[in-house]
Each structure stands twice: as C-alpha cells, then as structure tokens.
C-alpha cells in the first residue's frame, strides 16, 4: 500500500531542501561555466574547499567504518556488534560521496578512472586512488549482508560470513594506508605548507586523527540516530569509545609535542600570526577541550557530555584538515582564498545527500538490528530529520564551562587570526630603470638573414640586423612580435606583402629611410 501523502515539511527538511536547491544551481554552474565560473580557485590556489572538506574531511569522517569493524571482527569485542552496521553504512556513504565530490573538483571528471590503468607508483594520489576504490568495494561487500538479509538470500550470506574476516583485515589495511596518505599528499611541499602543519609525521598525524575521529563519529552518529530515529546505542558501548578517543588524543598530543620540540618550533604556535591563531583554535577545540571533558568521569558517562566531547573532536579534525589544505597553504601562495557560494553549496549538498540516504537506508534496511537496540524513547513515526529536545541542563557545570570557554577562546583566536591575515608581498616592485651598460655589452646583433623570394619579386632580400638595430638601445619589438617572426618564416611572403606599411614599407617610406619603391637592387639581389 504505497503512501501517496507528501512528507511533512519540518524545519530540517526545509533546510535540506534549500541546500539541495542551491546545490543544483551550483552544479548547473559547474557544468556549464567550468571551474572559473563556479569556484574561487586560481593558479596560485588550485585546491580549495572541495579538496579540503569534501575529500580530506570526508574520508576522515568515514573512519568509523574501519575502526568499528576492526574492534568487532578482529579484536572480537562482540558487544560492539550493534554499531558495526551503522558505522559501515556511514563509511560506505562517505566514500561514495567523496568520489561524487571529486567529480566536481576534477577538471576532466570523465578521466577519473585513469589512475586504474595509467600507473604512477611514485604518486601519493595514485596510491590513494587505488586504496579508495578498493576500500569502497570492500565496504560495499561488508554492508551487503544487510541487503541480502532484506531479500533473504541465505547462500550469499553464508559466503560473505566466511570471507568477512578477510574483508575486514583488507579494509583495515586499506584504511590505514589511505587515511595516512592523505597527509602524505603534503609531504612534497616542505616550502609551501606552513611549518605548524608541515611535518615529516604528516601521515602519522592523519592516521591517528582518523582513529580518534572513528570513535568520535560513532558516538555522534549514535546520538543523532537517537534524535532522528529513536534508536540509540547503549552508553555501555559508547563510554569505552570515549576512553579510547581520549587515549589516542593523548598519544597524538605527545607525538606532536615531541615533533615540535625536535623541529625547534615550540614557540611558533604563540607567534602573533594568522596561522598560529588558527592552529591554537584547532588545538583548543579538537584536543584540549575534548581531552578535559573526556577525562572527567561524570562528563564521559553523561550522554550529552559524551556527545559534546565527540562533537568537539569532529570539529577539531575538520579544522585540522582545513588548516592543512587552506590556512597553511595561503602564505606561500600569496593569495587569500575564500570559497565561492557555489563551492559551499556543493559541499553542503554532499553532506545533505549523505544524511538523506542514511535516513532512507535506516528506514528500509535492517541497519539497526531491532533486538539489540535500546529504544531510547517510544517509537515515533520514522522521521529522518526530526529533532527532539535534549536535556543539556543536566550536564555538570564544569563541563558546560569547558565547552563555553573552548568556543569563546577558539572564536576569539580565529577572529584575531583572520584580522591578522595579510597578502604576502610578492617580489620587489620595479624600481627605476635597470642600468643596462653591462648587459648591453653582451648584445650581439643577430645574424644576417635572407627572406625567400615572393612571386612578384625581383629577387630574395638579405636583411642585416647590424645595420637596422641601434646596438646602444636595441628595440627588438619594433619589428618582431607584430609583423616579423622570431623563429623565421620558411615560406615566401605573399606578393606585395613586404612593401606594405606593416613591413619594410613602414620605415622605408622615403622619409625615415629610402623608399621601398626607389632602387630594387638596394635590397633585392638579382639572380
């Protein structure tokens, strides 16, 4: 019995509709006006929001898939099994959307398959291309039992059950490789990426932050699922994830400290510059605040407290990826990049489509196994983007203070940083007229050359640069670049051409020099 009634228009559905409308318009511009007509990208700043957010953050945000499947299948922590499906679904959707976003960014998206056949093993992007392709396939297989269950295909299910451990090991390896390789993208630009983010350890940072994010995203997704679908995971599962996230945050912070110490830049984050301010904002939101919150057992075991901590980690990783790809690359480019409306619209649409497809999948596929889920509230009509009130008041006061303080501090630092942003002065501006005496001493009039004979001509013309050029102030462009080739014509000029005012006749007019009509033999050598 198909329901024909239109879905109720809630606030979030309205927002989604507006975003998708803007995204459709932006897509139109991208297709018909090219990259110039749809982005603020330039030769100096060729990678913007689409690479920085859609690709770098998109892949990182999908890290929950490999983190959780490794936890359940490899480490055999069965209690996490209920999270596997939503985590894998999110990861799969994430990767598909990353590829979709990539198609917007590529100048020639119809060649997107080229890395699969045109190999360059020295390229990090080649490696990432292969890993993402393989891993998306692995994710599809990992998620496929859900679809097969829906259609009760038991034989296929059995085969998948047998090969699942292999798939999971493969998925974890592929993820380890490309999550870290997204950081390796920037290893090749030691002179372009700011020292706060450029480090030989870039791949290590990208991998560790992806792991933290894997835990954080699982927590965030669980809470959002609760709000949207009335389905929620047990706190018993999420609290340990918070602890693991705290542990990796700590490890990463220690590594970063050691790295900065060895590179002698421990003071750099406190320099009064655009980059340093945004780096501190990233550290406060993504490391310091969530670490403090998660370290407090009262906050960690509080539903909203845990959610807020995880949300801060997510925001911190997003800030990190944008800082690496945009903030850190601006100074060397000499340009300030601000994404165009169309770039933002596409990015938001990609995220919106992700939410929409996830909601549809939850509605029609057994993503959250009914028996293992704790129903957080009485079942409501499945409304993908319905949001219920959440008791934030019950959060311990110190936690609220930490969150508020973190946002105020990061906001102030960010604003101050942007205020300090300046265009880097380019090479010195022209100053006076260069003294050319030494250079002119090396001037050598080009060799004599012969123009081929035109059909109506009494003979070929020999041209002597030496008698036409003032060696004390040579002006090559008075003849070259307009009428005369630099590289030499090999064909005879058309009849009458050379006598016109654009060629020899321009000067040889009887006033500046003898006329082209005077004495043929003066220039033309007879046969």
């Amino acid at each position: 019995m198909p329901k024909l009634a239109l879905p109720r228009l809630t606030f979030w559905r309205g927002v989604l509709l507006a975003i998708l409308a803007a995204g459709t318009y932006a897509t139109f511009l991208r297709v018909f006006k090219g990259l110039a007509g749809s982005t603020n990208l330039t030769d100096a700043f060729p990678w913007g929001l689409w690479i920085g957010f859609d690709i770098l953050c998109g892949v990182a945000l999908a890290a929950g898939g490999f983190t959780i499947s490794a936890t359940v299948y490899i480490f055999n922590l069965e209690k996490f099994r209920p999270i596997v499906r939503p985590a894998i679904l999110t990861a799969f959707l994430g990767y598909v959307l990353v590829v979709v976003a990539l198609l917007f960014d590529l100048g020639r998206p119809w060649n997107v398959w080229h890395p699969l056949v045109m190999w360059n093993p020295h390229s990090v992007m080649f490696e990432v291309g292969w890993c993402v392709t393989l891993y998306t396939t692995v994710l599809a297989l990992e998620f496929s039992p859900v679809v097969f269950e829906r259609f009760k295909m038991t034989k296929t299910l059995h085969v998948l059950h047998v090969i699942m451990p292999i798939l999971v090991v493969l998925g974890v390896l592929l993820s380890t490789l490309h999550q870290s390789s997204l950081g390796s993208f920037y290893l090749i630009v030691p002179t372009k990426l700011h020292a706060l983010w450029y480090s030989p350890l870039l791949p290590v940072y990208f991998f560790l932050t992806a792991l933290t994010l894997g835990c954080a995203m699982t927590i965030v997704e669980s809470f959002l699922s609760n709000r949207a679908f009335g389905k929620e995971l047990d706190m018993e599962l999420l609290v340990p994830l918070g602890r693991v996230a705290l542990l990796i945050l700590g490890v990463t912070a220690v590594i970063r400290f050691a790295d900065f110490r060895h590179r002698g830049i421990l003071g750099l984050p406190f320099a009064p510059t655009y980059e340093s301010r945004l780096f501190l904002a990233e550290m406060i939101i993504g490391v310091l605040a969530p670490a403090v919150l998660l370290a407090l057992p009262k906050v960690r075991q509080h539903r909203t407290g845990l959610f807020l901590s995880a949300l801060l980690i997510v925001m911190g990783v997003v800030m990190n990826r944008l800082n690496v790809s945009i903030t850190g690359m601006e100074r060397s480019s000499g340009e300030i990049y601000v994404p165009a409306f169309t770039e933002i619209a596409i990015t938001l649409s990609v995220v919106g489509v992700g939410f929409l497809v996830f909601a549809l999948a939850v509605k029609y596929l057994p993503v959250f196994p009914e028996h293992e889920m704790k129903d957080a509230r009485p079942p409501v009509a499945p409304d993908a983007l319905h949001v219920a009130a959440q008791p934030i008041r019950s959060l311990p006061m110190p936690a609220i203070a930490v969150v508020a303080l973190a946002f105020v501090a990061a906001g102030a630092l960010g604003a101050d940083g942007v205020r300090r942003r300046e265009v880097v002065p380019g090479p010195p501006a022209p100053a006076g007229t260069p003294a050319l005496a030494a250079a002119l001493a090396s001037f050598e009039a080009p060799a004599e050359r012969t123009f081929p004979q035109a059909p109506d001509s009494p003979g070929p013309v020999s041209f002597r640069h030496a008698s036409h050029v003032d060696a004390s102030a040579p002006d090559c462009l008075s003849c070259h670049g307009n009428s005369y080739s630099f590289l030499g014509r090999t064909q005879a000029p058309p009849a009458g051409l050379m006598h016109d005012t654009k060629h020899c006749g321009g000067c040889h007019d009887g006033t500046s020099a003898f006329s082209v009509e005077d004495d043929c033999a003066a220039c033309h050598k007879s046969e």
């Binding site: 299948y73 055999n76 590529l106 390229s123 630009v189 090479p427 001037f443």
Partner: protein, 258 residues
C-alpha cells in the same frame, strides 16, 4: 640524476636588457595569444609559458625549471607529466584528469590551468621538446640577442656559468641557482642578486621533494605485510579463545553481546 647530455638553459640576469624577445618568441612557438599591452607586464598563465619582468631594478625571466626529479611528475597520479632523457618535462594531455596536484606540488609555482575551459588542461613550458628533437635551440634562446638565455648541454652550461664568474669578478653572486636546488634543474639561473630578490623561491633543499614522499610510499608493502600478519594473528587468537570455550562447553563465556 641528470643525464649529462640533457639540454638546458642558462639564464643570466646581468645580461638581460628586457627586450622581451624571449617571451614573444615563446608565444610564437606555442601559438599563444597576446595577454597584455607590453610583453614585460605578462604573468605566467595558461596563455603565457615564459615571462621576463622587471623585478626591483633587474629584468628576470620565469619559466619551467625542468627539474631533474620533478615534483609535478612525481605527484601526477596518471603519469601525465614526464621528465625525458633529453631534458624537458613534458605533458601528456590525454592522460590528465585535472586533479591539479602538479600545481600544488611544484616548488616554483609553474603549472597553470585553463580555468575558463570546460575541458581544461595544465599548461606550461615544455622546453620546446619538438625543436630539441630536431636539433634546434629553444625559441627563447633563439630569440635572445645578449646571451641572457643560453641554450646547451646542462654540463656545458654549468661550465659556462663558472667561466662567466671567473671572467667577471664581482659581477655575480657566485651561485648557480638550480645546480643543487630540489636536486638540480635543467634551467639554471645566475645573477648578482639573491633568488628571493628576483622573486624566485629561496631556501630550497637539495633533496628532491619527491624523495620525501617516496620514503613513505616505499614502506607501504612492509606495512601491508606486517599489518596483515598482525591483524590476522590477533583475529586468530581472539576468536580461537571463543572456539575453545565453546568446545569445552563454557557457553556462558562465549555469549558476550548476544
């Protein structure tokens, strides 16, 4: 490293009179349109592969440096950029998918993009690879009337640069830019000024940037093998415990989460 017979250019700012012949000859050879009223105002773009601009009180050329170990060619996921034995770094446009990683990777900011086009390509100097193949000089070196752009074997150009240093004491800051920078380039620059005073990037290490990525990419097989054994081992140990428990009838021990 660099093939000793590989061709290159020696740029000498102390010999440049700013006539613009090199830039216009480049446009002529590449069939590129005029982009400004005065050729000295041109900036590198998809329509200008070589410039000569007044920087401070000198005339300075900019063009692709044709690195011995090019970052662009290392970065390109589809091997659309290639360093040839003859010297030029050339571009196979049919392979390109337009990711623009070459533009990010290039330490000199050389590759430019056809942003306005619907099927855009990367554009840059190719050291007149077709002319070189015919035994000709590059267009810019052909047009230069002062020897500010000299064409030749890279090894001979290094010797030429040193000979100019020796013959003109005090005229040069005796450093051949591109001799060691980023592992060596086919285009070399000599001047009386520091690179940064000429608008060239300073502080480039002699390690070719591609080596920084290759160090990491090179250990991937090790990571994969170690990781596979490690993860497989953990899986085997963790799950074996359950199987043993199950076989011994301790069903209560294997019911975690069920």
């Amino acid at each position: 490293m660099l093939n000793t017979t590989a061709k290159g250019l020696l740029l000498d700012t102390t010999r440049c009179i700013g006539c613009g012949a090199c830039a216009l000859a480049c446009k002529e050879r590449n069939g590129l349109p005029k982009t400004s009223d005065a050729v000295l105002e041109d900036k590198l773009s998809d329509k200008t592969f070589s410039t000569v601009n007044q920087v401070g009180n000198r005339y300075v050329r900019r063009m692709c440096m044709h690195c011995a170990t090019p970052s662009c060619a290392s970065a390109c996921p589809v091997a659309a950029l290639e360093k040839t034995a003859a010297g030029p770094v050339i571009y196979h446009e049919s392979k390109c998918m337009g990711c623009r990683y070459c533009m990010i990777a290039c330490p000199f900011g050389i590759p430019k993009y056809e942003w306005e086009k619907k099927a855009p390509l990367v554009r840059k100097c190719d050291l007149c690879a077709d002319r070189l193949a015919k035994g000709l000089k590059t267009a810019c070196a052909t047009a230069c009337p002062t020897g500010a752009t000299t064409f030749g074997d890279r090894e001979a150009l290094v010797a030429e640069a040193r000979a100019r240093f020796a013959a003109n004491p005090g005229r040069y800051r005796e450093h051949i830019y591109g001799f060691e920078e980023v592992g060596g380039t086919s285009v070399l620059l000599i001047s009386d000024a520091k690179p940064e005073e000429l608008g060239y990037p300073a502080g480039l290490d002699e390690t070719p940037p591609p080596h920084l990525t290759w160090r990491v990419l090179n250990i991937i097989p090790d990571i994969v093998m170690t990781g596979a054994v490690l993860l497989g081992g953990i899986y085997w140990i963790r799950n074996r415990r359950d199987e043993v428990d199950a076989a011994e009838g301790h069903h209560d021990a294997s019911t975690k989460g069920h």
